[in-house]
Symmetry: C2
Subunit: 585 residues, 2 copies
């Protein structure tokens, strides 16, 4: 037997027990004739004691142990003379009578400490050692707890966990599919699912009523920061529900997760905000509501005073940063540089300082009187000491820049506390968005999203104005999930494919089985999907989802531990009837 207890188990009540422990050597300290070893496993650390006087040979052996050696020890639990209140096992230590080295260790490539000396690339290559560090181990355990909370909540609400296939048919709508060549059908391919969307809808057609799955999804995208080619989704669907009922169900799930995993209780319902309001007041469909600093439009009070930039602008809007009127020239210049960055793209920034003495100082004093500026301040409800920041131009671009500026100011003012969680639902998304490049509509959520009943009459005439029964769940400015009430009528689904530029033949080839399914008594249904990686990262206070994935890929989609992807044997390709094209010149 390797152990009677793990390394986090023993307490003062266990004194005098004979115990056997196994674990990793975290630290060896010599103090006079004594040797102390911190023995570590997943559950904690227990202090082992070797005494030169009572057993010199054993103590010598202990002195030779290196970091990360795996050992098995037998000994007796005693009360410590100097206790360690920071450790759950800190009241006791083990006087060791027997020591076996199970496995020596070479010196690890980085220190196995909470603050490691290893860079990210090195820690990814030796991820199995990185997992020994508390921050990584704790993130994986947190992820386990979140998944467990999700399952418990959904189980209690009559959801059936059901598995959908991974080897499916390629449906190029949406992102790019990963494909899997079929050996038995040469020249044909399976695809890995971007989501189980179609299957969960078929479960509803099949009468399963409530379905969920925590499931891997795959997207072959050009990697950007914090995207992974495989990611995990909490995927859910319900029959005979309205949008309000779906929102209520998954608000309950979110509350249950926060309560179970973080001990945080939310009072009342999460706010529900329309897409339009979110865009106008926050410049984003995923507003961070940990702080106010709403965007206000100023066209009516700022135009017509001779300032050409504003007079020509489609949109003028701004935010009010409390108690920032004392910003220096240098600080303001930095903000101007920030909004002019290409990825933000504003042309400039107008500021108005509402001085403590009640006067205003702005970068546009030439055009606006104190009274004019006072009217602006009233729009924001600004107080003396506040700083108003304005951006103008094309409406959507300006709102986007104001969103970035608002987040930046929130960051600077310490208003984005990682331990504070503010959630909301954003609803009434547009059904479609126009893509200038391809000159056609794209589905804002996906092609199966139902238009709002009251906008249905616009489908043929002003499709861009049709709102969808779609909703996103947002926490702290991060889109954690979303969903929609689905189309369950084959004619409407056909029309939707048509709007999205599918020919009837393409629609039939790709989704014929779904439209066929709708002929046989499809129930009304809707659902939601949540990004488990992102939700756990948020709860863990991590900036990257890589921190909460056991074996993540790097930003180039590569597993640098096992070195994948990699070439395969010639015979494998031959069996698959494939050959590799050489790059064309």
């Amino acid at each position: 037997m390797y152990r009677t207890h793990h390394c986090g188990a023993l307490r003062i009540d266990d004194v005098n027990k004979k115990v056997t422990l196994s674990g990793w050597v975290q630290r060896v300290r010599k103090l006079g004739g004594m040797t102390f070893i911190d023995l570590r496993d997943r559950y904690g650390i227990t202090q082992l004691v070797f005494d030169m006087e009572t057993n010199a040979a054993l103590a010598e052996q202990a002195n030779k142990l290196g970091r990360e050696f795996v050992v098995r020890v037998e000994g007796t639990v005693v009360e410590r003379t100097s206790k360690n209140p920071d450790l759950p096992t800190g009241d006791i230590e083990i006087i060791i009578e027997k020591l076996d080295i199970i496995k020596a260790s070479e010196v690890p490539p980085f220190t196995i400490e909470d603050e490691s000396d290893g860079g990210e690339e090195l820690r990814m290559k030796y991820r199995y050692l990185d997992i020994r560090r508390n921050p990584v181990k704790d993130a994986l355990i947190l992820r386990h707890k979140v998944a467990k909370a999700v399952r418990n909540y959904l189980d209690d609400n009559d959801f059936v966990e059901a598995e959908t296939p991974y080897l499916i048919k390629s449906t190029p709508e949406g992102a790019r599919d990963f494909v899997v060549p079929s050996r038995l059908s040469p020249g044909e391919f399976y695809a890995l699912p971007q989501s189980p969307q179609v299957f969960k809808q078929l479960f509803m057609v099949g009468g399963l009523d409530r379905y969920y799955q925590i499931v891997k999804c795959f997207r072959d995208e050009d990697f950007r920061a914090d995207r992974q080619p495989e990611f995990t989704q909490i995927d859910c669907e319900m029959s005979f529900v309205t949008q309000d009922e779906v929102i209520k169900m998954f608000s309950g799930m979110a509350k249950y997760i926060f309560k179970t995993v973080k001990g945080i209780e939310f009072e009342g319902d999460f706010p529900v905000m329309t897409y339009e309001e979110a865009m106008n007041s926050y410049g984003s469909d995923k507003p961070d509501l940990r702080f106010g600093m709403k965007i206000h439009q100023l066209n009516s009070v700022a135009q017509g005073k001779g300032f050409k930039v504003f007079d020509d602008a489609e949109y003028i809007g701004g935010i009010c940063a409390e108690a920032c009127a004392n910003y220096s020239r240098k600080q303001l210049d930095k903000l101007i540089d920030f909004v002019k960055k290409p990825q933000i793209g504003a042309k400039g920034l107008v500021y108005v300082k509402y001085n403590e003495d009640g006067s205003f100082k702005s970068s546009v004093d030439k055009f606006y009187s104190q009274d004019d500026l006072k009217k602006w301040a009233e729009v924001f409800g600004a107080k003396p000491g506040d700083l108003i920041l304005l951006i103008s131009g094309e409406k959507n671009n300006s709102l986007n820049a104001l969103n970035e500026l608002r987040l930046e100011m929130g960051e600077r003012l310490g208003l984005r506390d990682k331990n504070k969680f503010v959630a909301l639902w954003v609803v009434d998304f547009p059904l479609l968005e126009w893509d200038e490049e391809s000159k056609r509509f794209h589905a804002m959520h996906h092609p199966f999203t139902s238009p709002k009943e009251e906008d249905m009459h616009l489908l043929d005439t002003e499709a861009e104005k049709v709102r969808a029964n779609a909703y996103d769940f947002v926490i702290n400015g991060v889109e954690i999930g979303g969903g929609s009430i689905r189309i369950f009528d084959n004619k409407l689904q056909h029309k939707m494919f048509d709007l999205l530029g599918f020919t009837p033949e393409e629609a039939e080839a790709q989704f014929g089985f779904l439209m066929e399914a709708f002929k046989y008594g499809a129930p009304p249904h809707g659902g939601a999907a949540f990004g488990l990686d992102r939700w756990v990262a948020l709860l863990n206070g991590s900036d990257s989802i890589r921190d909460v994935i056991a074996f993540p890929k790097n930003n180039a989609g590569r597993d640098i531990m096992m070195d994948a992807p990699a070439p395969v044997a010639k015979e494998q390709l031959e069996e698959l009837s494939l050959s590799i094209r050489q790059n064309k010149e």
Copy 2:
């Protein structure tokens, strides 16, 4: 709102309630001036009543409803005059005041009844309709319950559910990998995991201590009956454990599943049988212990009497079928045909009838006296009325044929009751098996399995005799799972790869990261994996795992509902730098 209650909810206590229900029309019956509709959803059936006298228009509308129409009704719960004790809702019915047709249905391609008129191929194509049938729906719900029981048990035992990647590196050891071409690394491929074996071992190196996952695995095999290219595994691993501890943990899991899901309690430990005993007594490493009928060897009592077939045989063995001495010539001939089938491959079958009067009648009376035959009967402990059946030849072939014959006789005698579950562990498997074709050893379990300490000295000399710390879990003759204590020493792992015919370069290229991991304080570890599909099929009394998979592939690996695999667009292949080879002549 679509419903206040689902269709399995209402009881006698709900009488006089105003309710709203939604569901599918299972059946419309007209009886005099009344129309009765069975409204169905996942939860049950509720009877709706329409009365021609009180509301003729509504009753007319109801009469026109077809099977599988989706409707929403409002009405009042009343007590039935003639109750249906077979239905949980059988005490009540709903007098309908309002009826909305949510969605009409075309006539389904097969009847949505427990016994459908649809063949398997048709039901697979319309799997979403098949799922509406109770046997399929109940199988999916049973699967959910099993998964939930597994998670609850493992959670309670400190296992961490952790996800491993699906896009990994191809390791051609074992079955054939499915591969996934990488677009960003042209000419390179990911592979889909055949199991998370290597990752779970790395979790142990990482100190996670106890890991589990219910996870999809992939094997590109030539399809045989009841194989699926993707299947689901309950995958587990533990650190600092002995074989006995692993067996104890997962015996506990099996008992918990049986108790939770089927209400069956097992007393005491499951039997543990060595591989050698299983082979000698049952001719199989997965004996069906629902019945006895053990195989006995007869060489010592049957050779040397002039019967050349037996005298020349390496092995003579048989079984004793109770109370079958009255088998007719025709019945015996059928058994002879059975064992001579190519897949069983016996040359013939010798029988001995132990007549009720104490005399013996055999097919080899020419060579054996009554006394000789009496000695055979004693080996089996046979009684008057029993039938002894013997097969001889090469040992392994004969045992294999006797295993098939024993199962066939068990079937004929009704000894293989689907509602009876008998489990055991088979242990001490050989580490290696010799493959005549490739003239090299294969790992009987996998290359990471640890040899038994006491056989380690045979590794260099008689490797075929080395037993492994490997174990299989068998229920009713079906291998439900298995596992092993793993190698955790890089030198031993190197030696194992060497025995399996890997060059050092191949071993390094494929498993270098694992052997590197073992250098940094790897703990002793072991685990097990269980086939969820097979376990659920067994609990469900299904012969095929397809019955317990929501969207299975057919025997050619094809999803006939969505028609996958399928050709992909030329552009997709170009992006992947691939081209399809034309068949060579």
